[in-house]
Symmetry: C2
């Protein structure tokens, strides 16, 4: 393909995707395909001869799009958002087109330096303590990781390395393997699966401590866990605090956990994957009170801050801790030595290679501006509150716990099985997508404002879809536990009106 | 930004990057900037107000491009290639635009299934044993990882999990931590830094065994290492064989390592990061003889196969080994259960989230066709051979070892310091970029045909640049160890002509 064809192909793809977003409300959020649909549609082997890009776009439309779960449909309310934005897409396009690998300064100076610049910008926007910033006097700094999973694992490995080193310096007779076997990591039972997985990956015992009734890991609980483990000869090493848990968006009190970690010389990592974006709005910073105790902090602009996946923003107070853990030198990597202020980012991460991800971040920060991003976040939170209001106005429902950020959790008063049935039916109809969680032992439905395109009207539509379904489940007929007839052409709405 | 502006911005970016490639030969491969150049140019904080995309593209041109090391300049001969192609860029654009996260089938069926389809296509193109393919009867299959580093680490963690499980089943009195401390991984002293790093990351002792004179890890060496370690109570667990080492592109003999691993019940992972692409050409498959012994196999289409970073293709013979290692269940991930044939890829990798990377692979495979890719690879190898011929025709040089794939290693007969001086001078002049390695204790320069745009004329230009520099270093004057005068306006070429 020559550059003339690329211009045609690329522009056709831009138009196709603009059309996709212009018409996204015409599609069901969930696709109507069965497992294996694409395996049946596509040939068993790659083509031998080159094919025309027009045929590829045609098949993209006819085979791929029908199998897409539309994460940016305004009726996508599952999990947490993954970001997309037009500036983010074009930033990614520029990065993919330059296609440089930024493992060292020399391998593309702009790739390293724009990451330093944008991570300083972002850290300031969040109001992080200056120690975390590359532009401070100390050895702190930011790095873009591929995911919060990677950031949690990086933190764990660094904590392990530091602890082992410290203990061996104190007592040279100790063996690394013996120490490793005694190290313990801690987080709450509300943690994301990726947090638990980091223990598995990093071979460290991970204790999921009991959260309080509001889903928060408390300082006292952590302190007791440290003491229990020490009494058994184990060594507390790493704590992951969650700011915005996956289930209910609860915030662990850093101001409680921090002093406990500090006193015990344990690395404190903050996982604010989803909710961290909100700290760009000063009114939410109270939720990270105590962040000055953290050794590392991570959140995902690729979730809620309009930067396309992958862009997980991680800061540490001491970049040398990373370098000491990850530095493997080779002659072919023996380039100009730079200082901690212009990092060789390969020592700050798991893989050797890295894309020019800061371009996306830069494009988004400039084209939205800080105010644009704040207004996006505040709007999404207000839309969640609007939804909560709609749910609360219907006395068949309970909103529980209190809405947090863009998340509203709710359930039917009729009980878990009715709530479960509601979610199953809705999922089957494919017009709205939500997932479940548990709260105080009850089955709840999580409704998250995900798409950045969402308007108040979209929320009303989502509520209408839910309401229509619940009208079919929670009726006086059902309350008396007799079977409702097959629905066919019955006018459910008028039926419900009558029953009120 | 609305979709109308996106169409404008996106198309302007497409044109900009097409222009970039059309004019790439007018730029020095290495940028003329000092460390910190961009930190000085850009503001200290993100803008508060939204900015126009035209200003962003302007700054991209004026601040970012001048700090780029042009990995796709035909005079970029450093490291190994990272891939770029027009179809790969547009595939990435489509993926970034859909912006779905494919951690489970339901989170976007097409995302999972296109990965299955294209990894089957690719495995067949490489001539991998059928056991590795999802379309076989068994539990094998392919998955796209972010990097060879990740694939090596995934293999290590799986090997560790399997070994620990096996030993604990045999002897329930054993403790996991004690077993972990005894596990050993093996690779050659020619391995990539990322391979060594995987031991660090996965907390497993990693032995870098001595390679033979040709840079290959031999079966006998591995067998002896197993025996030595067993005698000390250690447990051989994981072997990484290198097909195409980073230094000199040597190929470990799998047919020797395989039987040793099999006999010892040790997981054999094949890292063919760069050279693996060549197996698409049947004439090179002899270099992976014995691949049927491997438990996992990985290569990077994002290096030499025209698919943009990141796309590291990994196959395993048994997908359940991955699931058993990485499965962390959560209620919000409790979706439709699928079988091993339609994998929940989150259990096949380190992070939870994953982009729709197979779109790039699909676009490239279709628009080039298998024949187009083979012709690209064969062309690059023939260009390397053309370069080797030019070097050999100049009796000041030695080509050593034999060229392999797109790599030609050479040095000056004058000795290491002259060779080093040559490389330093060339790097300083920024017109060509190569890096060093060592071979049999000698300092060598690695010349890799990297850019897919490279023609025979480009190779001639690269050689001319090298030759002009060496003419200044290796002259009769230098041979007699007297100082040559400052070069100024001396006509070096005519000086050299005279000295012949």
């Amino acid at each position: 393909m020559n550059s003339t064809e690329f211009r045609e192909f690329g522009k056709a793809a831009i138009d196709l995707m603009a059309d996709y977003y212009d018409s996204i409300r015409t599609r069901d959020v969930l696709p109507s395909v069965e497992p294996g649909y694409l395996l049946k549609m596509l040939p068993e082997s790659a083509p031998e001869e080159p094919e025309n890009w027009k045929d590829v776009l045609k098949d993209f439309n006819e085979a791929i799009i029908p199998g897409i779960t539309h994460w940016h449909s305004p009726q996508f309310h599952a999990f947490y958002p993954t970001a997309v934005s037009y500036p983010g897409i074009v930033g990614g396009l520029l990065s993919d087109s330059l296609a440089v690998i930024g493992f060292s300064w020399m391998s593309s100076p702009a790739c390293t330096e724009l990451e330093v610049v944008t991570m300083n910008w972002l850290g300031k926007l969040l109001g992080l303590p200056e120690e975390f910033l590359n532009c401070s006097d100390g050895p702190g700094g930011g790095v873009i990781q591929g995911s919060a999973s990677e950031a949690t694992l990086v933190g764990l490995l660094v904590a392990k390395n530091k602890t082992v080193h410290r203990l061996m310096v104190n007592d040279p007779s100790l063996k690394e393997g013996e120490i490793n076997a005694k190290l313990v990591a801690y987080t709450s039972d509300q943690c994301n699966s990726s947090v638990e997985k980091s223990g598995l990956l990093g071979s460290m015992k991970m204790r999921l401590l009991k959260s309080d009734a509001d889903g928060r890991l408390r300082g006292e609980t952590l302190k007791n866990a440290f003491e229990e483990d020490r009494a058994q000869g184990l060594i507390p090493c790493y704590v992951i605090a969650n700011l915005g848990t996956t289930g209910t968006c609860a915030f662990d009190p850093l101001y409680e956990l921090g002093p406990v970690c500090k006193e015990a010389n344990v690395w404190l990592h903050v996982d604010a994957a989803y909710a961290g974006s909100a700290f760009i709005c000063p009114e939410y910073r109270v939720l990270m009170k105590g962040v000055e105790y953290a050794d590392s902090f991570d959140f995902n602009p690729h979730k809620w801050m309009l930067v396309n996946f992958d862009c997980s923003a991680m800061w540490v107070k001491n970049g040398y801790d990373l370098i000491n853990t990850f530095d493997i030198q080779r002659i072919y990597l023996d380039d100009v030595k730079t200082n901690i202020k212009i990092p060789d980012y390969r020592h700050w991460q798991i893989p050797l290679g890295r894309r020019f991800r800061s371009l996306k971040l830069w494009t988004v920060l400039r084209i939205y501006g800080a105010e644009g991003i704040r207004s996006h976040l505040r709007n999404q939170i207000s839309l969640a509150q609007h939804f909560a209001k709609l749910v609360r106005a219907d006395d068949r429902f309970l909103v529980e716990p209190e809405p947090s950020m863009g998340l509203v959790c709710f359930r039917l008063k009729d009980g878990d099985s009715a709530t479960r049935k509601l979610l199953e039916n809705l999922t089957e109809k494919k017009q709205i997508y939500m997932v479940a969680a548990t709260y105080r032992g009850r089955y709840i439905i999580r409704f998250v404002v995900c798409s950045h395109l969402t308007t108040r009207e979209d929320i009303d539509i989502s509520w209408k879809i839910i309401k229509e379904e619940v009208d079919m489940i929670v009726t006086p007929t059902l309350h008396t536990k007799t079977q409702i007839p097959a629905l066919g052409h019955i006018d459910i709405k008028s039926l419900c009106e009558k029953s009120k």
